[in-house]
Symmetry: D2
Subunit: 167 residues, 4 copies
């Protein structure tokens, strides 16, 4: 399975009183990774495109997405670094109008890293999953994932994140 490897810079304000990335701030890092990798940006047009970045974005977008649910496990505390973390992402499930984006968060590397690659063998800081519904911007209703989208995302399909049993 190939994963997307997205660099996400931390901010000082992500830290809590224990100098660790706060549990809610972690969702902002995952959001940023997800938007970087799935939304089409102007930069993409200039040749910097992520292979999966084919959802419209911005005020005149024809589609947008709705977050239907999220789950996260915090496995190790993540401290501050000027080196962006590496958020590894893949697609754990794809339905008619929805997909589950899966994440693991690792240390980055000072010199950067390739945009795609295999699963890391290290212990992640965090495991998470977000269920996203693709919505038609005009009607506000869910719409089917297109063939182009499926084709762009197929390479990054994998097993859903396994979480511990709750309770």
């Amino acid at each position: 399975m190939t994963r997307l490897h997205v660099p996400v810079p931390l901010r000082w304000s992500d830290l809590d009183a224990y100098q660790h990335v706060n549990n809610v701030a972690m969702f902002r890092l995952l959001e940023d990774a997800r938007i970087t990798a799935f939304w089409r940006h102007e930069e993409a047009a200039a040749g910097e495109a992520w292979p999966t970045a084919i959802l419209d974005t911005g005020p005149h977008a024809t589609s947008h997405t709705f977050v239907a649910g999220q789950q996260i496990e915090y496995l190790r505390p993540l401290g501050f670094s000027r080196t962006p973390v590496r958020v590894e992402m893949w697609i754990g499930a794809m339905g008619g109008a929805s997909l589950e984006v899966c994440y693991e968060v690792y240390d980055g590397a000072p010199g950067g890293f390739p945009r795609t690659g295999p699963a890391s063998g290290e212990a992640p800081y965090v495991k998470a999953a977000t269920t996203i519904v693709v919505v038609d911007a005009a009607s506000g209703k869910p719409r089917r994932i297109t063939d182009d989208e499926r084709a762009a995302w197929a390479e990054f399909a994998g097993e859903p994140v396994a979480f511990r049993k709750r309770g």
Copy 2:
């Protein structure tokens, strides 16, 4: 089963571009409800205590808590209101050093509402659960939930939130 009914004021900055409470901001509302209901505050000493508010807080606390995991489902979009929402909370599971706090979010009421009560029969905006580990502040290690804590929380034990199957 008795639930805690915690009023949580919204902020304008909780809204996203669609004028709904943002998916990440929702975790801030839940955090605020949880801290209100479980942490001991100076106000508590003045007779305003929540029945469950017996965890130490502040810079000289002997305990703190660590968030081990979270899960959420967004069922309906929540718009802005000056009336605080009602976060209903209960304890879905209690282990040696950990507990699962469960939440459902509902409309508040202009005149307020009692601090405890039965489960609402309405459709919630959000269902969520947070697994919390109680930690000894000096050692940084998990510590057993005390008999006093168990006694204060027992009344609010209930079935864990049922989430949809993922994927």
Copy 3:
């Protein structure tokens, strides 16, 4: 001079590592006070209107506002409380399309306080001012403050906040 006295609840996440309201978070409190007092809400229609709340709000608003500038002085550290703080506000200057909203932040009171009143004689935690430009939503251009707006705001005109000299 009469001031608006706006209650603003704190959140635990407003605190920094020193258990004080963070310098950036303070602007969120001021924003919330400003929106409460100047924007028309549905609640207002039900008889809860602030006397100054006559700017349209929401997705179909005919006007919106643009923040052109801000200044703040942090005079004393503000710790956490479950009692909302009291943000006293007045209008320090009014131009053709712009106004300067002035603020001082004080402790609230457990039982609440009236919506308008004189200047407090206490030492504030914070002094601040925000310059706001009223914009026509359709054109995106500044528009003149209307006679109705001027009339609603005139009672709350006062001397601009005096800040220390910089440097």
Copy 4:
């Protein structure tokens, strides 16, 4: 005058409903630039030091800083980009225990830019200034800026930002 040129990545969540960086979020960008340039980090020890990064940081720091005041003017709306913005910084005033950090925010450049350089001739998005007091961590009291700090910062002294007259 030489300025520090600090790259600061944007986040999608910095945007407001108009797809511009929110007025409060802008202070987070400035904070991040300031901490990058003035606080000593572990990375610095590995040879990546900013020339001005000599303030202790982290939980065992011997000093910390207190923000005494801030001022900002928003001159043009800043939209989203994957290319980090360039925050140009210099020191507009230095007292016994305090300094005024001045900022202008510009577009970045896809290939990056040197860490120091002259003032840009372009029109900035934002002008701002923050007054910082250096505090002894043990006593919590202001302490004198050391000779080493003065020496590290002298090269970046310049005229304070000129703001429009208020009101």
